[in-house]
């Protein structure tokens, strides 16, 4: 699906969420347009991860509306989910499987995935030569790179990334920033939590308190 830049993609309105006895958000509003990256900032416990999980439909203890291209994600999740790639705190990489096998599954869930594409994505992520080693032999940063390969393979419109930089080295950081730049050039949208200063043009910041 090709959409013109600047068009509204994801819209969050009147979001209310409480955790335990504490109100996390009240009247939170957020709009992401095509070709836009929004960085979510805030101190620990301000609900960055919760916000991302709410957007992806992993957390339903909220009130308010979330729409994707005009349709509420609660009622019409299929369209939304097939244009979403979510990478959470946990990398979603099984330790006994190889990067190749992990990606065959997690990308195969969404689209027909060719091994050739997986090899080239892993190569782009700097994991050439590790395609067939079991993931428990890889470092945390390398596992994160396996997880990030999904961004290349899924070609989703919306990326939702929770602290994607934490375990990456300087090269990895540059690599991911490059991916984000390419993504918005193509008209994609992204919602990212990080404390890192993102080197991405047109970045918008959402501060949570």
């Amino acid at each position: 699906m090709q959409r013109s830049e600047g068009q509204e993609a994801l819209r969050v309105d009147n979001l209310f969420c409480e955790r335990g006895e504490r109100i996390l958000f009240q009247d939170l509003a957020l709009v992401i347009c095509q070709g836009e990256v929004i960085q979510v900032k805030g101190p620990n416990g301000s609900g960055k991860t919760t916000l991302l999980r709410i957007v992806c439909g992993l957390h339903d203890g909220y009130q308010g509306s979330i729409t994707w291209c005009g349709e509420t994600t609660r009622e019409h999740p299929e369209d939304f989910l097939s244009s979403l790639t979510y990478l959470g705190h946990h990398v979603g990489v099984n330790k006994v499987l190889t990067p190749l096998e992990n990606l065959r599954w997690s990308c195969g869930l969404r689209q027909e995935t060719d091994d050739k594409d997986i090899y080239s994505a892993l190569e782009d992520m700097g994991l050439k030569g590790f395609e067939e080693s079991q993931c428990f032999t890889l470092s945390a940063g390398q596992q994160q790179r396996v997880s990030l390969s999904r961004l290349l393979l899924n070609q989703s419109n919306l990326w939702v990334l929770d602290e994607p930089f934490t375990t990456l080295d300087a090269d990895g950081v540059k690599l991911l920033e490059g991916l984000l730049c390419k993504h918005i050039d193509r008209g994609g949208a992204a919602l990212v939590t990080t404390h890192h200063n993102l080197g991405v043009p047109g970045l918008k910041v959402l501060e949570l308190t």
């Binding site: 335990g20 006895e21 203890g61 009130q63």
Partner: protein, 247 residues
Amino acid sequence: MWLWFAKLGSPKWFYDVSDRWLPWLAGAMALFMIVGVIWALLFLPPDYQQGLTTRILVIHVAVAGTSLAFFPLMAVAGTITLVWKMKLADMVAKNAAALGAWFSFVTLATGSIWGSVMWGTWWEWTDARLVSMLFQFFLLLSVVALRSAIEDTDKAAKACALLSIVGCINVVIIKYSVEWWNVLHQPASPLSMSSDNANGPEFWMATGVMIIAVYLFFIVSLILTTRNEILQREKRSQWVQDIVRAA
């Protein structure tokens, strides 16, 4: 808008309404309970076949009948929790599980006291009702256990709601399969607990009074524990703080 109403309006509404109803319900319960217990335990004429043991059966039947209401109640409350996210439903369901386990236990206990006299044994696997009551007891305990294992109130509410629905369906299947198992293992014993033909009309009248008493007891305890739960969970809200200050 509706969600806000359901979330904030309902517990307070329940608290206010129950405040008005509680004295009447409690009074009626006390009346029926006193009449029922005294009648059943002191004045009911001995049965020609069972003798005085028939008197405990009055209480047993009443408690057993009430204990069957718990799983359906919890399943309905669970459905409301999962579909409409109404917090009040979970406040009711939370205490229903423990209360139901207690009712099932009393049913089993009175049943085996009766059995110890009539059958000469405290436990009898050939009575299908005792066996399925035992498994209902276990299932209710598992809901209580799941609730206490999950710290997050919201998550515990949803998990227990789902388990109550699954458990309710299961109790029905267990009931029928245990009866089936029972029939094939041994023909129904002549002294089955139903004793429909053995007891006279006075027995059933006393039982009727007792059933009403136990149901009222069940409703009153559920209301009391729910009110308690409301105060705890809504302690931040203004109206609860007003009540606390006034007290």
